[in-house]
């Protein structure tokens, strides 16, 4: 039987762990709130851009290299995970999905662009060809970061190093739900024609539709990458929050169980001592 001193020590240690998980949960909650604000703030730009692009794509027959479907099936797959762990099955599910996708033969000799430390480690261990690894992006996402990644994707696509670029990321739905998304980044899919407010009116274009398209399309890629990063980060914090909440609860249960065991052990020891004293006294009487 465990002695009381060991039990006390274990209870103390579990309490310590619980304090850490509780703190991590609070930190994740704060970060989640910030990430959600970021998503909301970025939304108007993304929506307006895709509306403008849709109406432009509808009205002009001009095409652009970034819109063109190619014959080749050589693809880049961007996989966005977190830098840090301790967020439940968040990374695991996404990476498994991405790995299945790579093995499915959907693309010819696909290459990976892992974003987030977990993805980088996973794919270098698996031995997939890696185009560029982004390790420290997720801890501090900035607009400049998204722009830089988007620019290098566009370069790769334009130079013919990839015929298609896709992204796998987690879309934030709610505190307890996120969804694994697969989206094509390049060639740009013209946003589905939202009902334009004035369908019959011709726009004046300044300078001209072609130049405008050439400037709008890279923005669209940037926005798509940025949105994926923001969403992924919100989903990560939500997942961590849930995981840490569960851990805190588990620690509580464990403390309860250990306390019960501790009290029982203590009681048993006292009873044993009493029996010894009583039987000692009886022996003397006789």
């Amino acid at each position: 039987m465990a002695n009381t001193r060991d039990l006390r020590r274990r209870i103390r240690s579990v309490k310590g762990t619980q304090q850490i998980t509780k703190a991590m949960k609070m930190v994740a909650a704060a970060k989640l709130r910030r990430a959600q604000v970021r998503i909301l703030q970025a939304r108007p730009y993304a929506q307006t851009l895709s509306r403008v692009l849709a109406s432009l794509a509808e009205r002009t027959e001009h095409t652009h290299p970034l819109l063109q479907q190619r014959e080749g099936r050589h693809a880049w797959l961007i996989v966005i995970t977190s830098d840090k762990g301790l967020c439940g099955s968040f990374n695991h599910n996404l990476l498994r999905y991405a790995a299945e996708l790579l093995d499915s033969g959907r693309w010819e000799s696909p290459e990976v662009v892992p974003i987030g430390k977990k993805a980088v480690d996973f794919f270098s261990k698996r031995g997939d060809p890696i185009v560029q690894a982004e390790r420290e992006v997720m801890s501090n996402i900035t607009a400049a970061e998204g722009r830089r990644i988007a620019t290098s994707l566009i370069e790769g696509f334009s130079a013919g190093r990839a015929d298609e670029i896709w992204v796998v990321y987690s879309r934030f739905l709610s505190l307890i739900r996120h969804e694994t998304m697969l989206e094509r980044v390049l060639p740009v899919e013209p946003p589905a024609g939202t009902q334009a407010p004035l369908p019959n009116v011709d726009y004046i274009y300044e300078p001209d539709p072609k130049t405008l398209l050439a400037e709008l399309l890279p923005r669209q890629v940037e926005v798509q990458v940025q949105t994926a990063l923001y969403d992924s980060s919100a989903a990560e914090h939500a997942a961590r929050m849930t995981a840490m909440d569960a851990a805190t609860k588990n620690a509580n249960d464990m403390i309860d169980r250990l306390t019960l065991l501790y009290n029982r052990t203590r009681q048993a020891a006292i009873t044993k001592e009493l029996i010894e004293i009583v039987s000692g006294a009886q022996a003397l009487e006789e």
Binding site: P44, Y45, V201, E206
Partner: protein, 135 residues
């Protein structure tokens, strides 16, 4: 003249303006253009410069750097890479950038030339816009 003109200015990280105005002036790449309610639909790219909007005879300004504007008869939507209100502009910072750009322009090669010109123009715009700061 038809009804009011709805002006919306958004950047990648925030919605800066969302209000009804009487008139807007935009820094188009092919020159400044003024928009009144009932304007022909227009899609233009924007350069570096000031955006002016007027409500009830009061003029307000923003510093704009690159972007697009969609003009419809009853609304103007501006997507800017950078947009700043007069209150946000750091004047000393802008002045420093202006001097740096001016100095660099004298020595710089062809590749850097455009960049420096843009930097100079942005600094000048910011200083201009900052002058409209409300007391």
């Amino acid at each position: 003249m038809s009804g009011p003109l709805h002006l919306e200015v958004v950047t990648q990280s925030r919605r800066l303006l969302d209000l009804d105005v009487d008139e807007v002036q935009l820094p188009g790449t092919l020159g400044a253009l003024g928009v009144l309610p009932g304007h022909t639909p227009l899609l233009t790219s924007l350069g570096i410069g000031e955006l002016m909007y007027r409500t009830d005879h009061r003029e307000s300004y923003l510093a704009i750097q690159w972007g697009f504007a969609e003009v419809l008869p009853d609304r103007v939507t501006v997507l800017a890479a950078v947009a700043e209100t007069p209150e946000e502009i750091d004047v000393t910072e802008a002045e420093k950038e202006k001097e740096e750009a001016e100095a660099a322009l004298k020595t710089v090669d062809m590749v850097e030339l455009e960049k420096m010109r843009a930097k100079l123009q942005m600094a000048i715009t910011r200083l201009q816009v900052a002058r409209h700061r409300r007391a």
